[in-house]
Symmetry: D2
Subunit: 273 residues, 4 copies
């Protein structure tokens, strides 16, 4: 049976990526408290394609994925990327795994327990001479407007907002990066907003959170600065982009802010952009 | 060229609908102030299919649509439905047209002007012996929690919410229904929540709205009851379903309420469910 | 602390539903081969609200949910609904659980194995004197156009389509309904289209499926009739609605067909609409 | 009334962006045949924020937008960006305008006419010393698999695919860039796939397209190379990224390919990645 994909191509155009997208698949990931948890991911995988090949072999992505056992951690992702490069005879490989991660949370006063979901992405890349890993975590929070509070006789508009942190950590050895728990990023985000969100809240909890938010007004600009301050103090972190987006309760559009930072070679040159 | 769709079918199964979906198309609709406005719609159209036909002729839906000039009002939709029935030799026809409708709004204190969008749907159906038309309008609003306000020392959680009204009006003549302006439903919805939303707000407006919301706390249950009270007093209205959904600012899930009502034969039997 | 929700309401408007929506939560469900599987659901829950209560107690939905252990089957859902009615002092309760369900599938020639996801919904309702349960399964398939095949010298346009089956089964005892496996509906849908889809396919499999589709051309109208024929022969099934939607490869809009059927009191009156 | 946004901030963190997102607004854009067309856009706008300001003034984005008249072209966008920088006292400003663009298309054989929509994005950026403009156009097409065609006795799987072209053109004067019509990118994309899509097709057209696709099999890799070959020959184009994504009709996931290119200083160094 003819292998069309392996036939030569004469257009002399190498491709940055050829691969698959939007594959829904059950996966297992590490959990700081429960050791591991099973969830459902949207997966994309790709490799670079040299100019002389007509096409990549799409079925091999799935073979590498199913052979991997679908357990994804900072140490298994480099292995998957290496196998993708081998199976597809490619110089570089990428994988992106997006999934909801669940944490059991206790309401602040009554301690009522339920799970909260946090959308996360693992993005790994392996090139000829370099490797990359980015952990992205999105944390829903409550945000109360400092301006509205200052100028109004009573109350202050507040709303649900989403804080997205894309974080790179220091490379520790050949192909692993310093471990940062999803739980750590959730804590940083929640401490940077007006108040956290919970799945279950009884009346004493609702009173507590309403007052906590009223006492901690923040703009989206404040949120990304609060998160940035905490992340750049963490010696494991080498680069981040933080976005905060408020689903404004006085508008039908959203407000947002973005900050990016790269650890400088020398501390005097430290600056966010 | 053989017409496969017209070949007979022996399975003796009539179909409720055969048609097209998710067609994006520019349309013109009536506007109370500007006479008309152009917007972009998602359109679906279908007809019933008798058991003896294998398939419907999908291209004819598009011919009827383009011939119609894409001006949609309470009086042009029955014409389109009639033409669909003729062109497709069908007993019944349906059309659904979903679009953002824009209104120029003035901020409550400074009068600053900008457009706000309201998602609307026209749903028309023509059967052998009956006709139907439903106007659906979704209005974004601000909602402030009465419980949170009551139990907290200061502030009260509030959030963006969406009120969806699906309304039928009295049939006036052969195939038209009593006219209800989108603008009227927007006014009813906004008057039923804690405060309206605006695209542009200066600080004095923000102060006004924050205080207005604080003084008008509502649960989702209150909102749908407030809307229901107003709609059932309107003699043009014969049936409605109202849904309110809050994007809770203390949870990552939403709260909602639904009420339905049909004008009773005699006023004593009036009840919502 | 004042319980605002329990204060009386004087508008005399009962509500069909008050509840929560869009809660993402890990759940466990039955699996014909593996006994059970863990997946991630979007959950909504509601109760009716009598006219004399101002609001429902939203936190109790979450308490009932977490107490239930989040194992959902035909026999646990009636228990959850009963508890919702008790906890919220309501006459009726509803729950809707939407989730991807995974099946290990083997490619038709090489037998290569990987998981496929099928989107499912369990919808349960418990009223004063009646109970209801609907199983909804959406199966992605391949569909090849009979008209295109007939009129063209070579080839035929084909595309990905989605078959959605909403099925009610016979009530067996107080509150359980005859069991229908998700796997059974997947088989019925795949046998009603041009060919099934697989996550992993090697070249001999691709050849097999291409030819299988070419030899089994179907319109959306054929698909829903094929499914309807199979479902109405199944004595467990009492009612269904089947929708097929093709993401047409020659258009940027979709084609669809819908059929509904209710088991008649006597077989002579059998008809789909 | 206190202006909280203008109060100083001591965290020494400058922000890359602060602004608004997901604003739905009617806009007018240039149309090669009709001179101009009205459509509906999703708009985001942002400015950089110096470290010493606490927040930006969100309402000014809307003032600049409404004052602009919402006519967006290669020459009005730089004006809007300049006004954003002035109104918000910022060093840089960004705007992104995403909208469906409609073209009247004639079916290839019968000439039947209807509109097709193409999703487009205008992205403009004005920094201290540089300016940027990217035109993004997504074109839906039909793609037929060369491998499936080669190995199968009859037929070949095909499907709807989407080609997205993000293109930068040469800077012509102070702040305008060489004009590239959306229509030109649509033509390039359609000529790079197996066949174009149409809104309305009669049987002779369907036959024509089925055969055209069968005679032009392409992988996603071929598509992006075909587009790249045409774009890099165009002297106005200085940089592009092209993505092709197929909604595979034999899988429930998508296949995709990406190519990027920057016009080299000297032609010998030309290469895509």
């Amino acid at each position: 049976m003819k292998d069309i994909q392996s036939t030569p191509d004469y257009r002399k155009i190498s491709l940055r990526e050829a691969g698959i997208k939007d594959l829904k698949y059950p996966i297992t990931i590490l959990d700081r408290e429960q050791k591991e948890q099973t969830t459902v991911a949207d997966i994309s995988m790709s490799v670079s394609l040299p100019h002389h090949f007509k096409g990549t072999h799409m079925s091999r992505f799935l073979e590498v994925l199913t052979d991997s056992g679908c357990r994804f951690t900072g140490s298994t992702i480099p292995v998957v990327l290496k196998k993708l490069k081998e199976a597809l005879e490619a110089e570089s490989a990428r994988i992106s795994i997006s999934f909801p991660y669940f944490l059991t949370r206790r309401a602040p006063v009554t301690g009522a327990e339920a799970k909260m979901s946090y959308q996360c992405v693992f993005t790994g890349e392996s090139n000829k001479d370099s490797e990359d890993f980015v952990l992205t975590v999105t944390v829903p929070v409550s945000t109360l407007c400092p301006c509205s509070r200052e100028i109004s006789k009573a109350g202050a508009h507040n709303q649900r907002g989403y804080i997205t942190m894309e974080v790179r950590t220091e490379k520790e050895s050949n192909s692993t990066f310093a471990m940062l728990w999803i739980e750590e990023l959730v804590e940083i985000a929640e401490a940077s907003a007006s108040s956290p969100l919970y799945t279950i809240l009884k009346r004493p909890d609702e009173k507590f959170l309403t007052e906590q938010a009223y006492n901690n007004p923040v703009f989206v600009e404040d949120i990304v600065r609060n998160v940035a301050e905490k992340l750049r103090k963490d010696q494991r972190v080498t680069q981040f982009t933080v976005t905060a987006e408020n689903h404004e309760s006085i508008h039908n559009h959203n407000a947002y802010a973005v900050v990016s930072w790269t650890r400088p070679a020398s501390p005097e040159n430290d600056s966010c952009i």
